[in-house]
């Protein structure tokens, strides 16, 4: 799988100048593909692509594979990765064999793809090749498939068309059609041997409809099949019911998240969307409005007969009165100047038709992807509904455990112009990435760079941030994050929770993020259940996501995950104690909120899962993480130091406390966005008992040796601590006061007047954060920190 299972331990760069990429990377992981020093990787050669006939005996030859290390014996493993499944023999030798499958005129040519993996026992390499199989007229005849079309209801004395055009022959043989009336008043078919004959419907009495039955037989000269259809004839009406089904084309990712399977979309119902019937001559006139069902069905009653109309679907989920939810997909790149929440909503409008004089229920429509085989060539009408469908999955997950849940408005901003660049300019369609902020979800759509509409995990991940925002609380301040990064625990929890939510809602732990410009092949994936990347702990979003997913899922992880508490307790924790907790929202607050809700059996299971991600539970779990006594290390990274306790407690007017922090992240990863990385800061807590101003002092001790950076004016490479003060009001995540940067090694911070209560202090060393820091500045700096009144 194209999963990020083998992230390397380090070496990431400093952004050159105007950076910007998708993220500042990082992360840890396993080994090098060469398998260790001295050994060189083998070279896999799967051989040239082949073109063969159906039923041919085929040999695929990996004998050209080699190993640069003399005397090495290679092992071979052939697997099929695409196409009609064939039975491989000798799959563990250089030359494997199979018989080409039967190919019909309809599906010729068929391409089979094979992957060869060669290994020298330490390192491995892979290569793929294709075998194209052509139809040569062999094989067993497949009988034709008769399709007499959908049942219809039509008015008396009108022309009725039968429709057998969907009949087919799997072999591509020519077929004949034969229609026979088998029930109801006799009518005269225009031509009983064509695919679509017509007839004039008989006169029927009021309130006494007649049912006419027809049988269609199709014959390919060897075999035949039949199908029947019922046509109900009723008296002409002045008002009719117009109904049908709306669907959109959904695209699944390819195996291993290698792009999207755009050439094989599947139809899904447009669920719970606003559907309207409009006057075809003036589509601004809405004749009727409704909401599609979970099967995409819709129905408009009492519609004037014999008028030209169109059905349109708005990219809006707005059920109930008042609405339980209101999610709208808008184009952020149009109507610049108007507020974002007034940017155009997407509408898909289908071709006009006449309402006729009888109820008609076959007005079925599809919103297409617009994919033309190798690029987008048509309107990407499916996209807004694909996004809504993913979000509906997430909202449904919530309503299944809380039927009274009410979802505040959410706007999704998607456009074919939304490209991946930086800095973000929403009006111009320039997004640094797909992101959520302030009840707006901004999604990439530029087919030349990155599209998100069919990346359902990405959609729900961002929706997960919305969930935290409006149902719970997140103190995450975001920033770049790559899977496996050691993060500020607030960021790690928010990101891990959001990804777990997606995995739960979709009942699929594999996060796929496909991208362009090769939409058919590009992307990457992460398995939230089975992958461990980086240092495992409460500061790793993958650890957090894995924990929450494992609490929910019923998989056993090879015996390590033998229970499930379902989504209910997770939800109750998030909307309950996590929302009001008196410290930063982290894995500790989640665990502290969840554990008291559980019975003994579930508590033991949950504690076991917490232990798997290195969260200590022997002494319970409290919101500050005071119970955490072990700092995980895995021998690869050095981020294990300077992380405990999660909060150092200070006491007003007490002696200074000496704590250390470090820039090990830079040392290991040497790049990017550091402010949200673990070790780059320390958190403190203190409680005041009276309303007053306080003085917070942070002094480097021992003071690091000053270094000099050429070009700095004035020189600023001595220690430079920064202090950020947090409290519950107005909100935890944003500091309500920060120290004035003076560039000195001792920061003396006089706070605003503060009421009695508990406060969180964040300390960072600017020299560690600063990308242009001097190379000689020490990786670890310690400070004496105190609070006085």
């Amino acid at each position: 799988m194209n999963m990020l299972k083998d992230l390397k331990p380090g070496k990431f760069l400093l952004p050159l100048i105007a950076s910007l990429a998708v993220s500042a990377c990082s992360s840890g992981g396993s080994g090098d593909s060469s398998g260790g020093s001295g050994n060189r990787s083998p070279v896999a050669v799967a051989g040239a692509d082949q073109t063969v006939s159906e039923f041919a005996a085929v040999t695929i030859d990996g004998g050209g594979s080699s190993d640069p290390d003399a005397g090495t014996t290679l092992s071979y493993a052939w697997t099929q990765t695409a196409g009609a499944v064939v039975a491989l023999t000798n799959a563990n030798t250089a030359q494997a064999n199979f018989d080409a499958p039967d190919v019909t005129a309809v599906n010729t040519p068929t391409t089979l793809t094979f992957r060869l993996t060669v290994s020298d026992g330490t390192a491995s390499a892979s290569d793929t090749m294709n075998v194209v199989v052509n139809d040569v007229g062999l094989g067993i005849n497949s009988p034709p498939v008769a399709n007499a079309g959908p049942d219809q209801t039509r008015a008396e004395l009108t022309t009725v068309n039968l429709d057998g055009t969907a009949s087919l022959d799997p072999d591509g043989d020519a077929i004949t059609h034969a229609w026979l009336q088998t029930g109801g008043p006799n009518v005269a078919l225009s031509n009983a041997t064509v695919a679509s004959p017509s007839f004039t419907s008989p006169d029927v009495a009021a309130a006494t409809p007649e049912v006419l039955t027809f049988q269609l037989t199709v014959d390919d000269g060897t075999d035949f099949s039949t199908d029947t259809v019922e046509i109900t004839i009723q008296e002409a009406l002045s008002a009719v019911t117009v109904s049908g089904t709306l669907e959109f084309e959904w695209v699944n990712p390819n195996n291993n998240c290698n792009g999207l399977n755009l050439n094989n979309p599947v139809l899904k119902p447009i669920r719970r969307a606003t559907v309207e019937l409009v006057d075809a001559s003036n589509p601004t006139v809405v004749l009727a409005s409704s909401v599609t069902g979970n099967d995409g069905s819709y129905s408009f009653t009492n519609i004037d007969a014999n008028q030209d109309v169109q059905v349109q679907a708005r990219a809006v989920l707005a059920d109930g009165s008042p609405a339980t939810w209101n999610v709208e997909v808008r184009d952020n790149t149009s109507n610049i100047g108007s507020p974002l929440t007034q940017r155009p909503i997407y509408i898909v409008r289908w071709p006009q038709f006449n309402t006729g004089v009888a109820d008609n229920s076959d007005n079925n429509f599809v919103a297409r992807t617009g994919w033309g085989g190798s690029s987008y060539t048509g309107t990407r009408a499916a996209a807004p509904f694909a996004i809504l469908d993913s979000i509906l999955d997430a909202m449904t997950m919530v309503t299944e455990v809380d039927s009274n849940a009410v979802f505040p408005n959410l706007d999704v901003y998607w456009s074919v112009n939304n490209t991946l660049t930086s800095p973000t300019d929403v009006d111009a369609g320039e997004l640094s990435t797909t992101f959520y902020t302030n009840r707006g979800l901004y999604m990439l759509g530029d087919a030349n760079v990155d599209t998100e509409e069919f990346d359902d995990h990405v959609s729900i991940h961002e929706w997960g941030h919305y969930f935290e925002d409006v149902f719970s609380r997140s103190d995450s301040f975001g920033g770049n994050h790559f899977i496996g990064d050691p993060l500020d625990p607030r960021v790690a929890f928010g990101e891990g929770f959001a990804s777990a939510l997606a995995a739960i809602a979709l009942d699929n732990p594999v996060y796929c993020d496909t991208s362009g410009p090769n939409l058919l092949t590009s992307g990457f994936g992460i398995n939230w259940e089975s992958q461990n990347i980086g240092l495992v702990g409460w500061f790793n979003e993958l650890s957090v996501g894995k924990l929450i997913y494992d609490l929910w899922d019923t998989g056993t992880d090879n015996g390590n995950d033998t229970g499930s508490i379902g989504f209910g307790p997770i939800y109750e924790t998030m909307v309950g104690p996590q929302r009001t907790v008196g410290s930063f929202t982290t894995m500790f607050t989640f665990a502290a909120g969840l554990r008291p809700m559980l019975n003994a059996t579930d508590l033991a299971f949950v504690d076991g899962q917490l232990n798997r991600i290195n969260v200590d539970t022997a002494a319970g779990v409290d919101i500050w993480g005071d119970s955490q006594t072990t700092a995980p290390t895995n021998g690869t990274y050095s981020q294990g130091r300077d992380i405990l306790p999660p909060y150092t407690e200070l006491f007003v007017d007490a002696a200074p406390v000496n704590v250390c922090l470090n820039n090990d992240y830079f040392a290991d990863f040497a790049d990017g966005d550091s402010e949200n990385k673990f070790g780059m800061f320390r958190h403190f807590r203190f409680t005041t008992t009276s309303t007053d101003s306080y003085t917070i002092t942070a002094t480097a001790n021992p003071a690091p040796t000053a270094t000099t950076t050429t070009g700095d004016d004035p020189p600023r490479d001595d220690s430079d601590p920064d202090l950020f003060l947090h409290r519950a009001v107005p909100q935890w995540w944003f500091p309500f006061a920060t120290s004035t940067d003076d560039g000195n090694a001792s920061e003396i911070f006089t706070t605003p007047t503060m009421s009695a209560g508990t406060y969180i202090l964040r300390l960072q060393e600017w020299r560690h954060v600063d990308d242009s820091r001097a190379a000689g500045f020490p990786s670890q700096v310690c400070f004496d920190v105190s609070v006085s009144r």
Binding site: V22, V348, E430
Partner: protein, 187 residues
Amino acid sequence: MTRMTLSIFSALALLALAACGDDQSSSTTIAQEEKAALKASEDPYDGTVAKPGSPYAISYRIIGTPIVGSPVTVDLRVTSALPVRPMTLDYRINDATSMMFAESQPDSVRMELAENEEAFQQRVTVIPQREGRFYLNVSASVETEDGTVSTGMAIPIQVGSAPREMQEHGELQEDENGEAVRVLTGD
């Protein structure tokens, strides 16, 4: 809550502007501005909650001020969170009337890192054909035993002051309430 910007992004916003602005002509100038920008944004609380990052970080620097008819050099640097493997960089210009590659500029480069290198570095040269805001699309991909792992980004090339030309998708209309809607055609 959720706020913030990818802090490095915002930190470098000034840089990016400089990279596209009239005054940017040398790396020395950029480096100094970078320091100022980073310090100015030392408060990390400014953001947005983003999706997990891809395994690659693509950085770029535009050398000089893009003008019609003159070659513009873009320095690229790509780092990988994956084990070091050969990487392919593909360059694409969507609209041939906006920019073209310099004559000697390949549109795809396959690279390997030397032992002492931390990042893939490449220089790309394009020639603006008219004024506007265009994009050099860059994708970085690595073949692994499980397929291609890749990511991309669009590097904005601002030529003059004209804004970006948006791709039209569907038709902008008004609904029954006079509100703007974007109508897409179904079948």
